[in-house]
Symmetry: C5
Subunit: 90 residues, 5 copies
């Protein structure tokens, strides 16, 4: 999993069946110091994350397992809203 | 998922069974500002995307779940045509 | 999926059961202009691709679905021989 | 799999069902000489790894198979605590 | 799949159930000319590869299919010991 910040929304009226009702958010992944990693990705959200929230994102085929049906074509999902992190300086 | 723009077509007469009837499009992935990311990839399309459309693409094994049979060797699929995005400047 | 050119063969007598009979080819992935991307990878081939052919390659766990048994440890497969591509200059 | 060092914790009260009870740790992946690779990732831990431990991490959809239910949206997991490595200089 | 050279061993006494008995080796992936690609990874081995062997490695969730139980958290496996490769200079 990676951490990141929710930075926006994406809307698509015409889409694959099975995605109706799912909310899609842009997430900017970050390192533990808040530095952006790569371009923002789009993650499905079912737990009510909002703009500015720090979130945990699961990527790849494992992301489907956050959706009850599990047979949706989703490759990134927000699995948690981060309360705090604690990282040792090295 | 990533956003990108449909930029072309690819044709292959000789191909694996089970792919017959699927349309394959070149998609240039982009960041939220429209800047290209990596080389164009080939995504299957079942929702009728066309050249110039901004689309959402699911990659990896999850892409198969946009195809009814789900047992096709497809690793990228267009899951939506993007109406609009709204990203906060940071 | 990605496009690339078949550039060689690899032989392995001692290998996992279930791979016997599968042909393995080196494929150099390329962008739409023919420029190489990354180092060549090894893809399984069941459609009779040959040296110099332009091919479509599926990567990741989805590749297994081109093999009838589907339970083989294969992470890249040639799914089509490309007749032509048509990409819009941007 | 990759090796890395456990460097921190992440807490998320609001999260997907099915993740309750799982411990999440920041792991800094490293090469065989201890040099960091990429930004730290978050891995689930079920074997009791602690800060400073050298661990083996499985990534991608295979990570789910370390969790008894196997249907959790987890894309990285600590599968072992490394006793020692032995790498030939080349 | 990728080719690489076996360069070392890793030992982990405390590990996930289901991994007991599996041998884990460090493999340095290489291009067709023998140049290293990325940092060494850890691959499971069931065919008896040894230090210095040139091997084929399957990565990602497909790797599990080289293990009879298929439900082990393994994301890289040695699937063959390479006898020879034949790559066309381009």
């Amino acid at each position: 999993m990676r951490i990141g910040t929710v930075i926006g929304n994406v809307w698509a009226t015409r889409k694959e069946d099975g995605l109706t009702g799912l909310k899609f958010l842009f997430v900017q992944l970050e390192d533990t110091g808040g530095k952006p990693i790569d371009a923002p990705l789009i993650a499905a959200d079912r737990i009510g994350a909002g703009i500015g929230d720090t979130v945990m994102v699961t990527m790849g085929s494992a992301a489907r397992f956050a959706i009850p049906e599990q047979d949706v074509p989703v490759d990134a999902v927000i699995i948690g809203i981060v309360d705090s992190i604690d990282v040792e300086s090295r």
